[in-house]
């Protein structure tokens, strides 16, 4: 496939993406989870995807990974449309495209030892066992886990440590893009900070790109170069992280920003007042719009 310069600059580009889940039962209406999604991620860049439950942010990540049914539009990875990739193409893609899930408790098979979990993506790519074992040791070192973790089971680790294992699994094949689906939401505050540091460090060392999905505006602001805000299955606003997370334009993003409380009583009181003012203002605007319509 020939690719123009513009196509090559973006590692991942999503164009007019739509995802629809078939309805249950005979001739049931299908459920449209995403529509008209347009995003792009460059090399070494992090795109933060923020939204509330049901906004479709997780579905977008899953659509990129081939885990959600794409019914329209394109997902272009390095110039190739992968929205309808077969399992065989996916296997090839898995070298460059990986995932870290939210729940470190269910994302690791409880019956497998850590070493086997980490070796899985390597053996799929046909790495000989000895080489795979060496790489597993490197990975454990890279995410700051002890080497004896290899022969232990997931249940012997805390949430933060399990998430490191999940990150190590994603890193195993040195991918170009990692989809991170709420990777710090289930973690304690201090663990969250450590894991975020790990994500940043890995990006500095390897130049990997992230599609970072989170409901927490603070997390997204901290780790992203650019931010896209999702609401009811669509993207309402996107741009540089600093602009979107500090001076948003869309009413929903404004509400989201002022809803997250700050750890200082006086500033929080101020923010609360701002939020009430904003809600009042938006309500009046809606009323006016309704009258005009």
């Amino acid at each position: 496939m020939t690719s123009t310069d513009a196509e090559f600059k973006d590692l991942l580009r999503v164009e007019d993406l739509a995802v629809e889940y078939p309805g249950k039962g005979f001739r049931a209406k299908s459920f449209r989870a995403l529509s008209d999604i347009n995003i792009s991620i460059g090399q070494g860049e992090t795109l933060g995807l923020v939204g509330e439950s049901g906004s479709g942010k997780t579905t977008l990540g899953r659509a990129v990974l081939g885990l959600a049914p794409v019914t329209g539009g394109k997902v272009i990875f390095e110039g190739n449309d992968i929205s309808q990739a077969t399992r065989k193409e996916r296997r090839k893609l898995s070298r460059d495209l990986q995932v870290v899930f939210q729940d470190p408790y269910t994302s690791l098979n409880p019956a497998l030892e850590i070493g086997d979990i980490l070796a899985e993506p390597l053996s799929v790519q046909g790495k000989p066992p000895a080489e795979a074992k060496k790489r597993v040791r490197e990975l454990l070192d890279q995410v700051g886990l002890p080497a004896d973790a290899i022969s232990r089971l997931p249940r012997e680790f805390s949430g933060g440590q399990r998430q490191r294992v999940a990150i190590a699994r994603a890193l195993a094949l040195s991918p170009k893009l990692i989809v991170c689906d709420e990777p710090v939401s289930a973690l304690d505050l201090s663990t969250q900070a450590v894991v975020l540091d790990l994500f940043l460090q890995i990006q500095r060392d390897t130049g990997v790109s992230y599609l970072f999905v989170s409901h927490d505006l603070d997390v997204v602001r901290h780790i992203s170069h650019r931010v896209a805000v999702m609401y009811r299955g669509g993207i309402v606003e996107q741009g540089p992280a600093d602009v979107v997370t500090r001076a948003p334009e869309h009413p929903y993003t404004q509400r989201l920003l002022l809803a997250s409380p700050v750890p200082d009583p006086d500033r929080q009181e101020q923010r609360r007042a701002d939020r009430h003012r904003l809600l009042e203002q938006q309500r009046q605007q809606n009323e006016q719009a309704a009258v005009l319509a």
Binding site: N109, L200, P263, Q268
Partner: protein, 612 residues
Amino acid sequence: MSQAVELTGQTGVVVRSHVIHKVLRNPMGMIALAILAVLVTMAVLADVLAPFDENFADIASTLAAPDANHLLGTDSVGRDVWSRLVFGARTTLLSALLCAAVAIGIGLPAGLVAGYYGGKFDGIAGWFVNILMSLPGIIVLLTVRAAFGPSVWISMIAFGILLSPGYFRLTRTSVQSVRNELYVDAARVAGLSDRSIISRHIFSVVRAPIIIQTAMVCGVAISVQSGLEFLGLGDPTVATWGVMLSEGFKNVYLTPTLLLWPAVAIGLAVGALVLLGNAVRDALEDGEKVKQRKRKAAESASATERTTPAPAKVRQARGAVAAVESGTEHHLVKVTNLGVGYPQADGSIKKVVDDVSFHVDRGEILGIVGESGSGKSQTAFSILGLLPGTARIVGGSIQFDGNYTVAPGEEKVSQERLTKLRGKRISYIPQEPMSNLDPAFTIGYQLVTPMVRVLGISKAEATKRAMKLLSDVGIANPERTFQAYPHEVSGGMAQRVLIAGAISCEPDLIIADEPTTALDVTVQADVLDLIRDLQRRLNVGVILVTHNFGVVSDLCDRVVVMQNGRLVEEGPVRTILREPKDPYTQMLLSSMLEGKEPMTMLVSASAKEAVK
């Protein structure tokens, strides 16, 4: 077929060594395995152990008593009973295995495919299963015999097919429960083919139930087969236990032992298989159960130990509860040097809360902050008296409105005292709004019933109050919500309903355990506003358990910080958030992302600073 044989062969490898260990340690499992080992040895070494061929007839000595030649005597045509018993073991056990293999060979792959892919195959397979299950088994077996002759193998294949729905359903259900687990998704992303996903990640879930089921099925196969043969439908030329049983029954008045030996063999084999299945199941149930039992044993042991020094203390506590320390009556809640622990298997007590003291006054919001495992929820639950049954108060006291709910020296929260307070004067807002509403009842019912019980008002009056409460907590259409079932409302709405429930009986204290953690940020802001308004309006005391400093700064007047069951710092909210003294609080606050330079290290940077 070949696959099924492979499966049964795998049993040793599949069950982890510690499971085998556990089965061996269980006396029932040990006995069952020993019996099965003897029977299998008999079957394998039949040619060596049996002095005669199974059908060799010594016409000269029919129905002979046991002697040196014939260990267990002979039957009506002079065949050696011991030899027939040994050869019968071979045929009977092999045919039972054949039955299980056929059932697994059909049920397992079909169940795996149906469970993993669902869709059309699942539908069609389910239809076949329903047909198979509606067929009367014995009649089918009789028909098969009539059509194909009295072969034990053919009848066991037929029976295997009849039993395959059991495996199909078992496999399908287990597969469905893990099909959407994240680790299966991760394997898909890694590019594993469906076959390797099923064999690596999904098969491991079904193998344990399959092993258990197989033990049971073998037992059933032996008894059904023997039953058919006992009725005279077996193949008289092949020695099986069932055929021997049938033979023996014909001569039961002449030589009753002819009936005894096959019956004993059948009983032992079936019993051992069932016991083995139970033992494997117990071994796989993750040791949790064993620990529980041990813990209870340890408890009763320590309880007997305690009886000697304790009576004086107990008597003192049982009478009028000791008066609280004077000068502290005005506190709504006062927790003094509280310790909560759980007795362990070895008799020691694991403390989860240790030496925690704080107080809450009327109209005040106290925040308890900490990470998971800090003991913050345990502290809150001990005030509510909702600790698990195994928990022990290992020290300190709790007083509510000038009376002890846990007096010094008491080991348990007195349910008698707390039942009077809970609901009426102390109420609770939980973390997961959805799982705290009963899906089987309407929201209105769940609000009205406690009010009728606790306040003793009529149902009509309670309904009126419930409507008022629902509109008080900001629900736009109270009538609709009142009639709705919990699944019909959103998470934020459900939390409002629970808050309405918490204030319905006009409590003095509300304990809120992470009330907004499960909610979206914009909903969280609304719920926090609601809690603040209600608290001011009703002038109640609130204990807010949370891990979020933003929530703390939004609501709380005072804060206590907990780490590993200990209270590390206490103070007014501004002091704690702005000038934390304790290194742990400082670390927690420095982990906050608010106000941090984006794309910089959080922990490593501060660690470096500390080194400098």
